[in-house]
Each structure stands twice: as C-alpha cells, then as structure tokens.
C-alpha cells in the first residue's frame, strides 16, 4: 500500500512540472505580455515602462523568467543562478537558508490590478467556493446514489423513465441558463423570496470574510448562518440539478451491472432475502467505480462553480478567475491556474488510492 502511494506520488511529479510549463507557456505566448496593460496608458512614459520591464525581470531570457517564477533561481542575481550568494541552493525552504521567491516557496507574486498578494487572494476566495461547491457536492452525490440505485432496482418503470428524461435534460442544460431562469423565478419581479446574489444581505450583515463578519458570526451565529444558508439556496440548487444528471446515470449503470453479476444470482439462489442481496451484495460493489468518479469531482470544489459564481455574484475562485481574465492580471491567473491544476492532480491521486483501499482486488 505504502509502496503504491509512493509510486503514484513520484509519477505525479513530472505531470506537475509539465503543468507549470504549460501554464507558463500559455500566458507567455499571449500577445503583448504583462506589459500590454500599460502600453496604451498615456500617463506611463517609455522610460517608466522600461523600468517596469526591468523590475519585473521581463528583460531576462524566458528560461530564466520561468526558473525565477518557479523558485529554482535566485532573482537577485543575473542569469540562471541556481545557488544563492550564501551558497545555499535557492530551491531550499527559506528556513534552511534557501530563497523566498517563486511558487515553490509559496510566492505567487502580486496582482497587477490591486497589488494584493496572489496567494492571499486565492486563500480568501477559496472559502466561499468551498462552502458553495462542498455543500452542492454533498447533496448531489447523496441524491445521485439514492436516485441511481432506485432507478436501477426499478428498471424500466415509470420512475426510471422519469429520471432518464430528467437526466437527459439536465445534461443538456447550460448552467448559466438554469441560474438565470431560477433568479427570474425566485428572485424576479413576480416571486421575490430568495436572494439572487452575494453571500450575505448587505443591509443586515457585514461582508463575508471581513473581520466584522467573524464578529457578527460569533455574536449572532443563528442569524449569520441563516442568512448565508438563504443565499446558498439558488446557487446550490443550480449546481445540484446540473451535476446530478450525469452522476445518477453513472450510479444506475453501475448498479445494473452489479445486479446482473453471478454472485448476486448465487446469493438469490441461496435464498437470501431480496433486500439483503440488493444492498449488501450488489450495492456495495456498485459503489466501487462511483468512489473513483467522486474522487475525480473533488477539484470541482475549487473550479467547477465558475459559471454559477458569475451568475450569483459569489465571491469565490470562479469570480476571481473571471475578473483576472478580464483585467489581463497575469500573476493572478498564473496562480489560479497552477493551484487548480495541482488540485486536479491531487484529486486523481486520492481517487486512485481510495479505489485501491475500497477494492482489495486491485493489485497494488
């Protein structure tokens, strides 16, 4: 087991390195580069632009820029300086005398738009996204298991056909359209009962994430959580409807396969009660592939709600990405893309390991 985990981790390293190169290459090849924002600005003179280019290290060759961004190279020295002035390799953690620059040291740079630290902004935006997507994931995974299993047991009945129709439509529905229609239905001119945007009611509560908010949450936990829950209804519903379609079909297919296995027939032939066969023999085995599937959906906690966050003005990672894309905010985009890619790799790893844990037949 330990050997398997170690092998998978080692395999993940070249993939991670590849990801940093791809992310870097995509933004590097964008026309204009980070300096393009200032090219049109009449208040910034030619010499000031050159100052910026020099200060950001954009005058260095590309490998050096990449190397510094990653944190392999010391940015105080010219060229590919892998070793610092004090003789310690720059990659080493700062505590051991290594460098402090680059993503390997947790330094993603600063936003070109606001000047905030990228890592700080991502950290701040991660919580709202985790709340929204986490709750949605929990609900849709449990509902998928329930609906998918029921549909498989009652195959070709009215219930099964109904879920088939719903999942076809749910699968075809663009998230942004569902969100807009829900806003119209429950927050529009007719029926205005649910909040359509944000995480808190502006008039009665401080903005989420501010120091005041934590005081508010501490003093009036019921009121604060109730307000948050109220704001969660529509976005969570949107995510659940769109994602339940695929997952419930997955569970159904897996359950149907499991129900037709020989060991299920044997169990029935032995005279075991139907319920016990269905749930102890068939259901448990049907859940095996679904575990992997859910594992692969974990990065969604971070990335998947991008559309929903936009529609419902949810201050999470999705909104952060869209704002950064609109503003050509290079350091922010590189940070977001890199962090989310790393999460995908981690989730793949967790899914593999989880599958090996729940299914002892998998050779490690």
């Amino acid at each position: 087991m330990t050997k398997f985990v170690i092998r998978r981790v080692i395999q993940a390293v070249p993939v991670l390195l590849g990801i940093t190169i791809v992310v870097y290459a995509i933004l590097l090849s964008a026309p204009g580069g980070p300096i393009a924002k200032y090219a049109q600005n009449p208040r910034i003179t030619e010499s000031q632009r050159n100052e910026i280019i020099k200060a950001w290290g954009l005058d260095q060759p590309i490998p050096v820029q990449y190397c510094r961004w990653m944190g392999f190279c010391d940015k105080e020295q010219d060229g590919l300086a892998l070793v610092q002035a004090n003789g310690v390799p720059n990659v080493f953690p700062a505590a051991l005398g290594g460098g402090t620059n680059g993503v390997l040291h947790g330094d993603f740079g600063h936003s070109l738009e606001t000047g905030d630290s990228v890592a700080g902004r991502i950290g701040k935006a991660a919580l709202p996204t985790a709340i929204l997507a986490g709750l949605a994931l929990l609900i849709w995974v449990s509902l998928s298991v329930l609906i998918g299993t029921l549909a498989a047991i009652k195959r070709y009945t009215f219930f099964d056909n109904l879920t088939t129709v719903f999942s076809y439509v749910g699968f075809a529905m663009p998230t942004f359209w569902l969100g807009i229609m829900l806003i119209y239905a429950f927050s529009g001119p007719g029926l205005d009962i649910l909040p359509a945007s944000g995480m808190t009611t502006i008039r009665s509560s401080p903005a989420f994430g501010s120091d005041k908010y934590w005081d508010f949450l501490f003093n009036n936990p019921l009121k604060a959580l109730g307000d948050l829950g109220w704001h969660l209804v529509l976005p969570v519903f949107t995510l659940v409807v769109v994602n339940i379609a695929g997952d419930s079909r997955f569970v159904r297919a897996s359950m149907i396969e499991s129900l037709s296995q020989d060991y299920v027939r044997t169990a029935r032939a032995k005279g075991l009660p139907g319920r016990s066969v269905t749930f102890k023999h068939a259901f448990r085995n049907a859940m095996l592939p679904f575990v992997t599937n859910v594992g692969l959906e974990i990065p969604f906690l971070f990335t998947g709600a991008i559309v929903t966050e936009t529609i419902f003005s949810w201050p999470g990672i999705g909104r952060l990405t869209i704002d950064a894309t609109r503003d050509y905010d290079y350091p922010m985009l590189m940070g977001v893309l890199l962090v989310t890619s790393v999460l995908v790799v981690l989730a793949n790893l967790i899914a593999d390991v989880a599958y090996a844990v729940v299914d002892p037949r998998i050779k490690l």
Partner: protein
C-alpha cells in the same frame, strides 16, 4: 429492442458490457448472401439499426431542422441582423412574445429574439461541429501514433495527455479565448479543438493497441503489407465506430462551452451572433421582467444538445459491435 431506453454517454458502457456478449456475433451479415439476398455493407447495416432507435431518429430530425434554420433562416427572416431597429423609447425593457415577435424582443436595442436565435445558430453550430473535427483529427493522429508505435513515443505522448487532462480546462479555454481569440470565430474553433482532443486520443490509442494484435493485422504483416497501409486500411476502419460516437459527444460539449465563454464576453465578437453572446447583458433586465430574452436562446441550446446526444446514442447502438443485438 429493450435498448431504446439508453442512458447518458459515460454510463452506458458499464451497463452494456453485461448485456452484450450473448448476441455479440449474430449480426446476420453472413446469412444474407447465402440465401441470395443483397448483402449490405457496414454503413447500411448501421443505418438499419439506427432507424430502429426512435429517439435517435427524433434527434436527427431536430438537428436537420436546426441546421436548415441556420442555413436559410437568416435569409427568410423579415428582420435583418445588421439593421438595428429603432426602439420605441430611449430606455426599453423589450416586449414579451407576440405574433409579430414569437420569441419577444430584447431590452435596450429592442431586437427580435427569434432573429438573434436564428442568426446565432449559424455560428454556434459551426463552432460546435468544426472544433469537433479539429479535436477528432488531433486526437486520432496522436492516439494512432501512440498505439501503433508504442515504446518511448507512446509514453511521451500519453504523459502529455496526462498533463493536458490535469489542467482546469474550462479556465484555460476561458483565458485562451480572452488572450488569443479577440472575438474571432476561427481562433475560437482552433482553441476549442486544441483543448478537446485528449479523450479521443486515449480512446484511439486503446483501440489501436487491441486491433494491432488481431489475427488479420498479423496476416497483413506476414504478407508484407507496409505500416502505412496497415494503419489506414486495416486498423483505422475498425476503429472508426467508437471514434464517431465520441465525436458526437464533443459537439454537444463544444456548443455549451462556446455559449458559456461568449456569454461572459470572452468569446465570439457580437458582430457574429452566437447563442452565448446574444445573452451577454440579458441578466441585467431580469428584474424588469424580461425573461424571454435569455429563455428562448437557452431553450434552443438545450434542444440542440439533446438532439446531438440522442443521435450519439443511436450511433453507439448502431455502430458499437458490443451492443449489436
């Protein structure tokens, strides 16, 4: 005929594996000419099976109507997309569906929503289909090289696929569209194609790996057939069915992604209307009750994706030898 109740793309394969083996090689091709009937080729057989799939036929009909609307719609429509109508008032929230404007009129410029939808169909369908072709082409080439050559090249290509699949593709497509496309339809198609070939390449590789070991390929090699001919005449035709099915799913995905990217304003320039960019500012007018503006284009997207998925299911049943009953 119980297979009418097919399921969504990924899920079916799991279920099919169980039902299939019993009737796998009973397709009846051999019997045909022994009795003296006209023998049917692979595609005629597939069409015969496809016709029995009711939903797939409905889907095909829907797609035909949509494509027809996209081609002749803008010509027949009473309103021209490039002439902006004169609004009733300076600030307008549009008008609800009426006989003259069955899908209503938008806020602001007070455009006919049906006209927008019909004009948008051209670009949206065009992007959906052509980016699929790019994705399938790259995927097939990479998968074929990988599966046929094996060894170091296979390993290298598959690691590249791993890296590409680990990227948050929605983010990347969004960023790439914003940074490179500048609203150009062609560049959007290229970007979508460049980020959607990985699934196909894995599929094609696995097909090549298994077909490469079959007896007829061995026989071909034994009589000295060149590699090139083995790939194009012996292996590829046998791999084509799963590729067609996977391709149909790519179309649906690309249409939805394009709508979303353009809706955010990072996609196609509004000069070329698509189902996404005609909705860009629709959300602002929801509070004034303008539901028809976002509603109808979204409905058309749903119908299109449904149609494509139905056809995909029909193709899978008709082409996939595992499910041939």
């Amino acid at each position: 005929m119980e297979r009418i109740h097919t399921t969504l793309p990924e899920s079916v394969q799991v279920a099919d594996a169980v039902q299939a083996p019993a009737a796998a090689d009973e397709s009846g091709t051999v019997v045909d000419y022994e009795v003296g009937l006209v023998s049917l080729n692979q595609w005629q057989l597939a069409w015969r099976k496809f016709k029995k799939h009711r939903l797939a036929l409905i889907g095909l009909g829907m797609l035909a109507v949509l494509i027809l609307a996209a081609v002749v719609g803008p010509i027949l429509a009473p309103y021209d997309f490039y002439t902006i109508p004169k609004p009733d008032q300076f600030v307008t929230i549009g008008r609800p569906p009426s006989l003259a404007h069955p899908f209503g009129e938008t806020a602001r410029l007070q455009r006919d929503v049906l006209e927008l939808v019909v004009n948008g169909a051209r670009t949206s369908l065009f992007i959906g289909f052509s980016s699929m072709f790019i994705g399938v082409f790259i995927g097939t080439v990479v998968g074929a090289i990988s599966g046929f050559m094996g060894g170091f090249i296979d390993n290298l290509l598959m690691r590249i696929v791993d890296v590409m699949l680990s990227l948050p593709l929605l983010f990347i497509i969004l960023v790439a569209s914003r940074f490179f496309a500048n609203g150009s339809v062609v560049l959007i198609i290229v970007i979508f194609g460049l980020f959607s070939w990985m699934g196909i390449s894995r599929l094609v590789r696995s097909l090549f790996l298994s077909i490469r070991e079959r007896e007829f390929v061995e026989a071909a090699r034994a009589v000295g057939v060149t590699d090139q001919r083995i790939i194009f005449r012996h292996i590829l035709p046998n791999a084509i069915s799963p590729i067609v099915v996977a391709a149909s799913l790519l179309i649906a995905g690309n249409i939805i992604t394009e709508a979303f990217v353009s809706f955010l304003g990072f996609g196609v320039n509004p000069i070329n209307p698509t189902w996404g960019n005609i909705l860009t500012s629709a959300q602002e007018f929801l509070n004034q009750g303008n539901w028809w503006w976002p509603f109808f284009p979204g409905l058309v997207i749903i119908l299109t994706v449904l149609a494509v998925n139905f056809v995909g299911d029909g193709l899978r049943d008709a082409l996939d030898p595992k499910t041939r009953a």
